[in-house]
């Protein structure tokens, strides 16, 4: 039997749980815990420069590894600064455990220094939260927090820890709980066998089927199984932004991603389909466009681990509650040895799809000509080539995010790391840090813009302290590009506050931290700059690439229209 203080229990639990690294920032209410961390060397603590970055870094780690990211912050402002990152993880179902210091129990409710009701503040954006009421609860509560964060539909869990719970003088028995049970929480795994059979029968009978898969494939580690199923059936597949990499994008059956800025062929195929097989996707508004006009001829099979995602915005004909991997495995065993009922119909379907593909081939954007500003799209394509498509890619939010998703092709899951649900500017750079610390041998590229980067650029200091060699590709269009695009389309080009006036000299800024910055303004400078930037995987390099500020992201679905109603360029429309 071992007697430990609450603070030592936390450090010890993290070790026993197999946590290698946590991201945080110290402060009064968390100091006992920091002292415990100081006296051990199993868990590495990464000191960020703002608590929001701690959550994004832990989030990046979680998305790349599939394991919960861990954050430690102090009470009050430390905890409230973390809220945006918690909400970001919540919207994208990312496993995360956030340990928040809290003022001592006897001060709670008295508006004490640095007191915030963080359980209350975060309630709508967490999967669950706990308050520690006695130090002896710490091991069990932490185990529950990790269990909840990582199982079922994953999500962030907040643990509020009053300072007196971690007092070094109070010692209690510590046993690492190998298992916990929560009577009201029994996440489903296997789907209903009858429903799966019904779905498979519909799949084999369908004439114009399309798979529509989402982040559930990535978080559910179901990408191999999915690839197997899709290839056995020979059906087309489109993924959501969050599902990118769940199926290899280079494959012929992949139509790319769908939705507001999705590919022409993906949106056309969805609109004309007679059967949509949705797995681990949630029919959100950036995918469906106007739900009353959504896919008028399609029956819908919807597989999701979260029953509340099914029939939330679009009614499912065959709802299946279950884990993506398990349901897909059962589908495979039912498909084995059977053929689609009409190979002819499927061949015709592929003809239509290839027709849509052909219509847009070579017309996605106009490359820059000599003397013109670079196009953001060609920069992404150049980075794709320079990294052989193997990099971990994180993004911020805006035009560059959509271009990165469109022009960097992903063959594997867990490689495209983006804030899809909440759309958090400032996410990309700290998320890249979290990934790079875990995969030091890999290229980790953060595509950003001068707007987003300035929201979290203080993390350059963290990168300096911990030697984090991420590559930052700043698509500098001197404006908030996506805001500007909407203002062009909807506000007669009245550019209210979408300019980034008084931009810093990024090169000087980066050099102030001792890193390399390369400025690129012409196409000829691009390839040599990339070669220089990616020469050494361990080196942080900032590429300040000036791109055409007038470029728009296309295709773009027309508001209130159906899936197939798209603007294809500034002058073309479906």
């Amino acid at each position: 039997m071992e007697l430990l203080s609450g603070a030592d229990m936390i450090a010890r639990f993290l070790k026993d749980e197999g946590v290698e690294r946590i991201f945080g920032y110290p402060g009064g209410a968390a100091l006992h815990i920091y002292d415990a961390l100081f006296r051990q060397d199993s868990v590495q603590h990464i000191l960020v420069r703002h608590e929001q970055a701690a959550t994004h870094a832990a989030d990046g780690y979680a998305r790349a590894t599939g394991k919960p990211g861990v954050v430690l912050v102090t009470s009050g402002p430390g905890a409230t600064n973390a809220v945006t990152g918690i909400a970001t993880a919540y919207m994208d179902s990312i496993p995360m455990v956030v340990l928040c210091g809290q003022v001592a129990s006897h001060l709670i409710g008295e508006d004490a220094f640095q007191e915030t009701d963080i359980v209350g503040v975060t309630r709508p954006v967490v999967k669950h939260s706990f308050s520690i009421r006695h130090p002896s609860q710490i091991p069990e509560v932490l185990k529950k927090a990790f269990y909840l964060a990582a199982t079922g539909r994953p999500g962030p869990v907040v643990v509020d820890i009053p300072k007196d719970m971690t007092a070094p003088t109070e010692r209690y028995e510590y046993v690492y709980p190998k298992k916990v049970k929560i009577r009201s929480y029994n996440p489903v795994t296997r789907g209903h066998a009858g429903q799966i059979k019904k779905a498979v029968d519909m799949m084999l009978k369908s004439r114009r089927p399309v798979f529509y898969t989402g982040g559930g494939i990535v978080t559910g580690h179901a990408s191999e199984a999915l690839t197997d199923l899709v290839q056995r059936l020979g059906f087309p597949i489109t993924t959501t932004l969050m599902g990118i990499g769940g199926y290899p994008q280079g494959d012929r059956q992949s139509l790319g991603w769908l939705g507001m800025h999705g590919s022409y062929e993906a949106n056309m195929a969805m609109h004309h389909a007679d059967l949509i097989i949705a797995i681990g996707a949630r029919f959100d508004d950036r995918v469906t466009n106007n739900t009353s006009k959504f896919c008028p001829t399609a029956k819908i099979v919807h597989v999701d681990i979260d029953p509340s995602s099914i029939s939330k915005t679009v009614r499912a004909d065959v709802p299946i509650v279950g884990a993506a991997g398990s349901v897909i495995d059962e589908m495979i065993s039912l498909v084995q040895g059977r053929e689609p009922a009409s190979g002819e119909a499927l061949a015709e379907w592929w003809q239509s799809i290839d027709g849509w593909r052909g219509e847009r081939e070579g017309k996605l954007y106009e490359p820059s000509e000599a003397g013109e500003a670079l196009k953001p799209q060609e920069v992404i394509e150049a980075v794709y080539r320079a990294t052989r498509g193997e990099a971990f890619v994180t993004t911020d939010v805006g035009q560059h995010q959509m271009f990165a998703a469109q022009y960097y092709k992903f063959a594997k899951p867990n490689r495209f790391i983006t804030s899809g649900g909440l759309g958090t500017m400032g996410f990309g750079f700290p998320a890249a840090m979290g990934v790079k610390l875990q995969f030091p041998q890999d290229d980790v590229v953060c595509f950003t813009g001068e707007g987003s980067f300035q929201m979290m650029m203080q993390e350059l200091s963290t990168c300096k302290q911990f030697d984090v060699g991420v590559k930052i590709v700043n698509l500098n269009n001197q404006s908030l590009g996506m805001v500007r695009q909407w203002q062009d389309l909807n506000y007669k080009s009245r550019h209210a506050h979408s300019y980034m006036e008084s931009l810093p000299d990024f090169a000087k800024l980066i050099e102030a931290y001792g890193f390399t910055a390369l400025k690129v303004t012409t196409f000829d400078e691009l390839a040599p700059a990339l070669e220089r930037a990616f020469a050494d995987t361990s080196e942080l390099v900032f590429l300040d690439i000036y791109v055409d500020p007038f470029e728009h992201v296309y295709p773009m679905q027309v508001p209130l229209g159906s899936m197939r109603d798209m603007l294809l360029s500034k002058t073309e429309r479906t």
Binding site: V119, K127, S131, S184, D306, P307, S308, S311
Partner: protein
């Protein structure tokens, strides 16, 4: 349509706020809400009446079930059930109105539970419709104050909502 949803909830600090927060966060309606501990001290029973079409009610029950603190729930309106609410009403009781209040209370099987020279306090139980009707009947006489508990309910017959 109006639905009565009964929930067994972990008797933990903050559990109630998760339920109530869910309704406002997701733009669902709460008409009445009633909560108290059960015979099993680790559980509270919460009854909420809400209004919505089938799609909304399905979403409400699914989201409630997702809350970790919700152990079990039932939509009582899906089957035969008993629904009760308790109301305390203070009415002006002067002159002829004194008798009128008493007579009406008797008709509704309500009881006068407190008396002053000018005021009667009436206690009445029943479903929400009966209570509404009583308020209507008393309105011309002069209602001074109303306190309603909100609906509580239970399924008829052998059906149980328990662990």
């Amino acid at each position: 349509m109006r639905h009565i949803i009964s929930i067994l909830l972990e008797n933990e600090p903050g559990a109630l706020s998760r339920v109530v927060g869910l309704f406002s966060q997701r733009n669902f309606n709460i008409e009445t809400l009633n909560v108290a501990p059960t015979e099993e001290p680790s559980l509270s029973r919460l009854t909420v009446t809400t209004v919505g079409d089938d799609r909304v009610i399905e979403q409400i029950t699914k989201h409630l079930n997702k809350l970790i603190d919700v152990v079990k729930l039932v939509d009582l309106t899906e089957g035969n059930h008993i629904e009760r609410e308790l109301m305390l009403v203070k009415v002006k009781a002067l002159g002829a109105a004194r008798d009128e209040v008493k007579r009406t209370a008797d008709i509704f099987r309500a009881q006068i539970v407190d008396v002053t020279p000018s005021v009667y306090t009436v206690q009445i139980t029943g479903d929400a419709g009966k209570l509404d009707a009583f308020v209507q009947a008393m309105a011309p006489i002069g209602i001074l104050e109303v306190a309603r508990t909100g609906v509580s309910g239970i399924a008829r017959g052998d059906k149980l909502l328990s662990l």
